[in-house]
Symmetry: C2
Amino acid sequence: MTMMNETIKSQLGHRTIRKFKDRKISKDIMDLLLEVTARTATSTGMQAASIIRITDPEVKESVANVCGQAYVATAPELLIFIVDQYRNSQIAKEKGYSPKTARDMDRFIASFTDACLMAQNLVVAAESLGLGTVYLGSILNDIQRICELLSLPDLTFPVLGLALGYPDQDPQLKPRMDMSLRVFENSYQLYDSYLDKIRDYDKEMSSYCDLREPGKYLDSFSDQVVSRFSYASPKENSILKAIRKQGFDTGINKDDQ
Amino acid sequence: MTMMNETIKSQLGHRTIRKFKDRKISKDIMDLLLEVTARTATSTGMQAASIIRITDPEVKESVANVCGQAYVATAPELLIFIVDQYRNSQIAKEKGYSPKTARDMDRFIASFTDACLMAQNLVVAAESLGLGTVYLGSILNDIQRICELLSLPDLTFPVLGLALGYPDQDPQLKPRMDMSLRVFENSYQLYDSYLDKIRDYDKEMSSYCDLREPGKYLDSFSDQVVSRFSYASPKENSILKAIRKQGFDTGINKDDQ
């Protein structure tokens, strides 16, 4: 296609990398990647998201334990993106204003969105430089532990971990559902049978071999869906309690709830 | 810097574009951008986020009304990214499994994250092709209205709007806080005075002129923070109720809350 360029070629080649070479990412590159996060769009310009860069091997090990993924401990770079309404609420206080709305869940959601946009912007930049990345949603396995480890103050919250380094593996491109099933025009489209619609995709998925289990092929997508829904995390559905514990107003115990 | 490339150059040049040329984005380009979203990292491979593409001028107008931004109605492309646990829960049901955990807030959060990552991946691809973009967090001004307009079923939820087109304006790069204030090593760093730390930035912000109000310079950042915190949306902090209404288990009314 004529509109293809290096950026999009790199984006279309995205694979999760879980094994990294024993090679540091230079300070210049890290500074550049962080500059890219600074330039990311941010809700109402508030920049209410921050990053904790984990360099201490013990802290890395602890994060790896929360994630349940040993490779996290050896990643050359490990970043934790966080909701951060703390900084701006301190700024407001210094200006003599008591920012009650800093605790609102819509601010939390705006910050959470900002943190995700920053993370993906950084990922695209990193991959354009030949780095590999893996997102770690699994930092939320034990939110309380992460908050303690990183000394996260009131009005902050962990969103997503990201490990980076030079790839030491070359995984297959993972099969994806056709976007015709995920993009709708003007209103959400319901289908009578999704299994019919994903029949080919279900087969294609069974030809994918995850490098974490070499020689073993994945289940069909529909089987993966069932198995994922069967999985209850150790602290199932506790995320709102954790959000409240970090100072946000989840509305729980309020009269109107 | 030697590691600079076209991708990162484009990312560092990001500006929000709110005025578009009267020129369509070709089908080939839209297909390519949607393919980029398909290749985006997704939590546990579940692809539990979708996109509603608004092509109907009346629906566009209605979304613009919710956003309170007239220019949204004339954007060549308007996409709404959504949390989508509906599709996979239907797949599970067809397989004879009743997916109770589809309603868990941690699934909501994983889907929400997926939707944001897709959006930013698409933005980088679009900007690399010379397109301009504006995120519309303001679709959440009236979540109920958006859900109705787009016929969003149970277990879906609007995350973020995105308008795209060929830029018909050339705004300044908006000043950003130095990342040293937003990136911390190993643990969150508290400062005694944030106003001290952002003194230069506060000044720099006052030299920025928003094209929405030509000739008028912005308030200092700290004044913007206070003014943003003073702003209470018409349906303040109602987002959790809206999430519950869309079928997710917000834990409200539960014994353990």
